[in-house]
């Protein structure tokens, strides 16, 4: 991990072109440290942006709560049988729309399936959609945005216009058009669609932060030492440009889960027999007046999940943003 950027910023100001770099760095460094806390001369001076952020996060109750919830969510997404013994597809029509009963705390849905079991099993679908879509968007966005920002010129101009094109298409409309023909019962068409329309958001951010990072002195130094482009990008630029991408991707993960539910409500998202919160909410919506529990439990689970990801992203942003220190 390279040194934090404030050291070389401090170095530029007093020295200019020549001068003794060592002295200047020390001066710049100590000046920077004067206002806040003890003089950074001890071993703790070497703390990176990440270890700093981690120190902040460990003390942040919002972060701890949302991280614990997400951990719980991922656990039940992998092993839903840990807390739900039933089968989400085993239904008894005679019990359709019935309310809470012993052994069935959330009641039954329109087909007489146990709402509790379906809500627990729905976590797997939502987490899969969210995680896969975010990974795809982040990989594609970082690769395209990062390369465009690094090389500049014609590829950059083309990519920027392409991003504008994708931004101009309303997401839900694109979903209706593209997904209305797909007759698949897996999550992959929905994930693919989210990656297709989602990557410009990340690529714009990655591009911007790569452009900021590539002008830093340590990158110029690496270039002067003969580092290859790949080494400069991966070893020096990427670790310093990735923070904003992580923040936006975390928040986006929540919105993808919510988008899946919206698409399912419009009838173009996931399809039964897939068990998902979106499908359950939308199939419960006509009966909302007589049997609101059928809608409220999956909707509540969905809302809490999205909330957890948004709060996690917010906490990470606060920890990574040096302006707020």
């Amino acid at each position: 991990m390279p040194e934090p950027p404030f050291d070389d910023q401090g170095a530029i100001a007093p020295t200019g072109a020549g001068g003794t770099m060592d002295l200047a760095t020390e001066e710049g460094g100590s000046l920077e440290h004067l206002p806040g806390g003890p003089l950074g001369t001890g071993p703790e001076k070497a703390r990176s942006l990440w270890s700093d952020a981690w120190r902040d996060l460990r003390r942040n109750p919002v972060f701890i709560l949302s991280a614990l919830f997400i951990l719980f969510l991922v656990t039940i997404a992998i092993w839903p049988s840990l807390i739900a013994s039933g089968n989400p597809l085993q239904c008894d029509l005679a019990k359709a729309q019935e309310g809470s009963q012993p052994g069935h705390p959330f009641g039954f849905n329109g087909q007489g399936c146990d709402v509790y079991t379906r809500t627990v099993y729905g976590a797997r679908t939502s987490v899969t959609v969210g995680v896969c879509a975010t990974l795809g968007v982040a990989l594609l966005g970082c690769a395209l945005g990062g390369l465009a920002g690094f090389y500049g010129g014609a590829p950059d101009a083309v990519l920027s216009r392409l991003t504008d094109v994708f931004f101009a298409i309303p997401v839900i409309l694109g979903g209706l058009v593209l997904l209305s023909v797909v007759q698949s019962t897996t999550v992959w068409p929905v994930v693919g669609f989210m990656v297709l329309l989602g990557w410009p958001q990340i690529s714009r951010i990655a591009r911007g932060s790569v452009i900021t990072a590539k002008h830093n002195d340590y990158v110029q130094a690496a270039r002067a030492l003969g580092a290859s482009n790949a080494r400069m990008l991966l070893r020096h630029i990427a670790p310093n440009a990735i923070a904003p991408v992580i923040v936006v991707a975390t928040i986006a993960l929540g919105t993808y889960i919510s988008l899946e539910a919206t698409l399912s409500y419009l009838g173009v998202g996931l399809r039964p027999p897939t068990v998902s919160w979106g499908i359950d909410i939308s199939s419960a919506s006509p009966y909302i007046r007589n049997a609101p529990h059928m809608l409220l439990w999956p909707a509540g689970a969905l809302a809490v999940t999205v909330l957890a990801f948004i709060m996690l992203g917010d906490a990470v942003r606060d920890a990574l943003d040096p302006k707020l220190r």
Binding site: P170, L173, V177, T262, Y265, L266, L295, L307
Partner: protein, 307 residues
């Protein structure tokens, strides 16, 4: 300034054609438009070939796209599945959705900015914390759930509003749907205004204004607000396109016969012309709104001057 406007307009052209081409390709992937005309049954092959020739569907896709765009610029958006010109559908649908969007933007501006200013000036107080929590809840509940719940409570249980909006969609029936449409953006506007106000409240010019002895109200409205609203204006401007596109969900819940309704019908009945026509206009609205935002910058922020 004039040169900047021209440059921006020129930049819009490739984006407009790119986006419409993308939609055109998507719709062509979507399905066979001739099949949509035959209804549920399979088309008679001879009739299908006849229709294909009549609509120019036997030509390659790029040629169809060029013909279509040529027609669009003369005001001809083609015909919908029932033989009605698409432009007539637009004349019915767009006023409704524009009214709905205006109601939503009104709520964003009035409620969002007011809440943002109040919380930004009282950071860390109970008001601030509770409003922030509320915005988080609004953001994390999907719009269609908010809509369904409000419809149930206000429309069905308490009878304050009509659960479904009549086809004419007068303004007073659009208040609650507008609020639902605005809800998520409203929360974002609140948070954005709050951050911006809190950041600027510590700035030198605000301290100077206070030191001059200006009344608090004047410091806030003339000095603080004017500088803090620049990011908010950007957000609201870019949101216009998203609101009109996102209205599809709200319009479905409250049975409003606007753009979203027509698009939904178009997609269900595989009416290529309807879908491409409406999306083309939506893309154009989005691009123009973005241009407007960029130009507003210069008015709001004298530091930005376009050569």
């Amino acid at each position: 300034m004039g040169r900047y406007v021209i440059r921006r307009l020129l930049q819009m052209i490739p984006v407009f054609f790119g986006a419409t081409l993308l939609i055109f390709l998507m719709v062509n992937v979507m399905g066979d438009p001739v099949q949509g005309l035959c209804g549920q049954r399979a088309c008679d092959p001879a009739t299908a070939a006849q229709l294909r020739k009549e609509f120019g569907l036997d030509k390659p896709v790029w040629q169809q796209y060029l013909t279509y765009m040529g027609n669009v610029f003369t005001g001809d958006f083609g015909t919908a599945f029932n033989g009605q010109p698409v432009i007539e559908l637009m004349a019915d649908a767009f006023p409704v959705t524009i009214r709905l969007t205006l109601v939503a933007i009104f709520f964003e501006i009035v409620i969002g900015i007011t809440l943002g200013v109040i919380t930004g000036l009282r950071r860390g107080r109970p008001v601030d914390t509770s409003v922030l929590l509320l915005t988080l809840v609004v953001i994390s509940v999907p719009t269609f759930v908010t809509g369904l719940l409000l419809q149930l409570l206000l429309g069905v249980e308490w009878g304050i509003i009509k659960p479904a909006v009549s086809p004419a969609a007068p303004l007073d029936e659009l208040i609650v749907p507008g609020l639902v449409l605005a809800s998520v953006s409203l929360a974002y506007v609140t948070r954005l205004t709050r951050t911006s106000i809190a950041e600027n409240a510590r700035s030198d010019y605000v301290r100077t204004a206070k030191a001059k002895g200006l009344p608090r109200r004047r410091v806030i409205t003339r000095h603080l607000l004017r500088n803090s609203l620049i990011p908010v204006v950007t957000f609201i401007g870019t949101d216009i396109g998203a609101l009109m596109g996102g209205a599809i969900v709200t319009e479905r819940i409250f049975n409003i016969h606007g753009v979203g309704y027509q698009l939904y019908q178009g997609i269900l009945r595989q009416s290529t012309q309807t879908v491409v026509g409406f999306v083309t206009v939506l893309v154009l609205v989005f691009l123009l709104a973005n241009l407007l935002v960029d130009l507003l910058y210069a008015v709001l922020d004298p530091r930005i001057r376009y050569a």
